[in-house]
Symmetry: C2
Subunit: 138 residues, 2 copies
């Protein structure tokens, strides 16, 4: 498995609009995109911080995964996402090494990426996402 | 406030040695340093992932902050640390903007850095560290 960089840090928030304002006004970061990912029942906001993005996540449904996370633990850091080059073969390799997957095959994430989540039981409590960039660079 | 990049992601673990092995064998990352930070009652292990470090944190004391975190929430992502250029003036600016600080003045962190934590009550549940690199580059 080859990790290139931390693609993003996912942060669960109750109110996306208010939190975007905080990150812009207090942290001086610029929100460059807001996107709804229906598959994950979230609305997301992205900030570029050097090589890595901060991804704020607001649930679009009362029983979506982000709602459940906030109900249980409050707002906070939800997951870490690593950029890999070949997600499918990476998942195959991880299964062979005994890692439990949430997504057995790549699925569509935000920003046109293929993504898959590993189960935090296998990764010391850290919900870990792997991302493969699909955009072809011209 | 000017954030340059995400300096590191702090992850609370029960057993540093076992988790280093997992990050090396499964994630293919290389631990480049292990350091004890007495002030924070932790033993830390660092992995470079692109521009950002993953910092594993194991408590050295049963009632240290990492022990308390794990007792309450289990192992997992503990904090996010942003690199800033002038930590002292950044803290002054944040106080003026109403952000609650854990550390009112910079203190010594791992890797010869000056650090300060912001209170998660002010940052949507995200324990946030600010770091200023003190090493003079030759």
């Amino acid at each position: 498995m080859k990790i290139n960089n931390i693609e993003h840090i996912g942060i669960a928030v109750k109110n996306l609009t208010e939190t975007i304002k905080f990150y812009e006004d207090v942290f001086g970061l610029k929100c460059y995109a807001v996107e709804e990912v229906q598959d994950q029942k979230v609305r997301t906001a992205f900030f570029m911080v050097g090589q890595t993005k901060v991804e704020l996540l607001e649930s679009t449904e009362p029983y979506g995964p982000i709602s459940k996370f906030i109900d249980k633990r409050g707002e906070g850091i939800h997951h870490i996402a690593y950029a890999v080059e070949d997600l499918k073969s990476t998942l195959d390799e991880l299964v062979k090494k005994g890692v439990q997957l949430i997504d057995k095959a790549p699925r569509k994430g935000a920003e046109e990426m293929s993504i898959a989540f590993l189960h935090p039981k296998s990764t010391n409590g850290v919900l870990t996402e792997l991302c493969e960039q699909n955009k072809k660079k011209i």
